[in-house]
Subunit: 329 residues, 2 copies
């Protein structure tokens, strides 16, 4: 099998997701896709463009024992889309750089099936990529999105007194990791939900766009390294502190924490890769916005605390050290 | 050293290249750079956007014995810029996903110094990235550029009778690889030039933009896998064949081929990563365009052959098998 033949197979796997955007009805026209030196598209004239990149490495972010290669492909795309969600952007196109062991065309196909499934679900065209040998699988996805100039939300806009809220309960992905590591750890519906959260996380694209459209949302980011770490980042960027009062813990996370003898709130706070959004909202607007959010998405916008004077994040009155995930610690 | 501290160091290393674009004079304003969930920029209203990605893996594309980590960073950026050159695009911004062994903050700094040097030289802002652990170093760069709609050149526009030309002599990078592998293999000025071509290749950005502006250039791509492989790709896309008559061989490649007892033309034809451009030009326009090219760039636009009927690439009357580099063969 030559590289050109493998690329041809990838084009076929991706064709439904690419077709989404190449049709003349598409608002974003991909003018040239996979197979040339670069992909070409027509950006929106009224929007700003947004770009983000994430790398997943076998043995660091995933192992083959704990998820299928299709799951790996999905996760790689979902992690990147979550960054677009955090900017309130709509997805436009993605590129994929993939390193795999030389003997593995079937592995490439499996990874791309997961990438294509996630791309199709969230309406993003995979427009280009690169393929390389590599001892461990490495996937680097880059996503481009678009957002109205007035809707761009950074981490830096949070103001004293703002409500801090999250778009969903935390800890399910970490619970799923632990259940995948140790089958039978907990049973029941929570177990299935946790494994799904771990293997097929859903970026909050629609939720991000909804929240970005409100002038009362002052800062937004996705929780990829755990609420404790990411809340600290938002506070640093916004030049304030935060008091965390309530941690919405997913049922499965509560169960796993219970079995492990850990505090459920701590377990959930240190849990990365739930890909929920963390938002700062002007206090007078929170109730109204949360009501509209629940009506629209059939899920609650959950208050976790408020931005405060000073620096750092406090929880139950104690300064919180970083409990999250740091690749270099 | 925490991840956030490493990211802060990277921002400092990159600041000259980022500053190029964040000033209010810049035509492309990077509105939000490294440190948030995504970077934000304002695309040109009159241009199309172009994106390409490439991954370099330690042990596959480079080894630390043969070049410094600064060279590795330069090459990763240069390989991507070469794809923009092939589209006739001007560079706008890049993202970098980097996997490195956990214990190596100095390695990260070295790689980023090479990335920053190349970014500054070719006027592209590094606007975002990701950092991960990884046993072998893996660098995935994604570049975004812009091109006038009328100037987009793909591989597919070549027409029967078009002159095939390249922007420079071939084989120097491969010669440099062999000299780095075996110091003393050849001596003299050619040796220095070859090592430079191997370690600090120069993407043909200005040449690509110049050629793309001509309506008589019908197809363009960069030679990253060797003339034999890449000419076949251009022919396949343009639905024609090619007769290669002359191979412009770099002096250093000639010397190394001589020492190795190989045919210099074959050596140069199979040599990847020179990052010269391969262009198809309407035959009546070639002489005039080559004259303007030489006047502008003080280097020749070198005729290598012509597009012909049929399929595949012939050289000295013989069908040419792929002699190039295929990661999966």
């Amino acid at each position: 099998v030559t590289e050109d033949e493998i690329v041809q197979n990838i084009r076929v796997t991706l064709s439904p997701s690419t077709a989404l955007r190449t049709g003349s009805e598409g608002r974003h026209r991909i003018l040239l896709g996979i197979g040339d030196d670069a992909a070409v598209w027509q950006p929106s004239r009224s929007h700003r463009s947004v770009i983000s990149t994430d790398m997943l490495v076998e043995g660091v972010h995933f192992t083959r024992e704990l998820m299928t290669l299709e799951d790996v492909g999905w996760r790689a795309m979902a992690a990147n889309l979550s960054d677009l969600a955090a900017m309130g952007a709509r997805p436009v196109l993605a590129t994929v750089a993939l390193g795999v062991p030389s003997t593995a065309p079937e592995e490439i196909a499996q990874i791309y099936r997961g990438i294509a499934a996630c791309a199709q679900r969230f309406n993003i065209a995979v427009a280009g990529g690169d393929l390389s040998r590599s001892d461990a699988i490495a996937i680097s996805v880059t996503v481009v999105g678009e957002v109205r100039p007035s809707n761009v939300k950074t981490r830096a806009g949070g103001k004293l007194g703002d409500v801090l809220a999250v778009t969903g309960e935390l800890g399910a992905s970490r619970a799923g990791l632990e259940i995948a590591n140790q089958p039978g750890l907990v049973e029941g519906a929570g177990c299935v939900a946790a494994l799904r959260a771990f293997r097929r996380p859903e970026p909050r694209i629609a939720e991000g766009r909804f929240l970005a459209a409100s002038a009362n949302v002052t800062a937004m980011m996705d929780i990829s390294d755990g609420l404790s770490t990411d809340a600290r980042r938002l506070c640093t960027a916004s030049d304030c502190g935060a008091e965390i009062a309530d941690i919405p813990v997913a049922d499965s996370a509560r169960e796993v924490a219970h079995v492990r003898g850990e505090d459920p709130a701590r377990f959930a706070m240190a849990a990365g890769e739930d890909f929920e959004l963390l938002v700062a909202i002007r206090p007078r607007a929170f109730r109204y916005l949360a009501g509209r959010f629940e009506k629209r998405f059939k899920r609650k916008l959950l208050r976790v605390g408020a931005l405060s004077k000073g620096r750092g994040v406090a929880w139950r009155g104690t300064a919180l050290d970083s409990l999250g995930w740091d690749h270099f610690k």
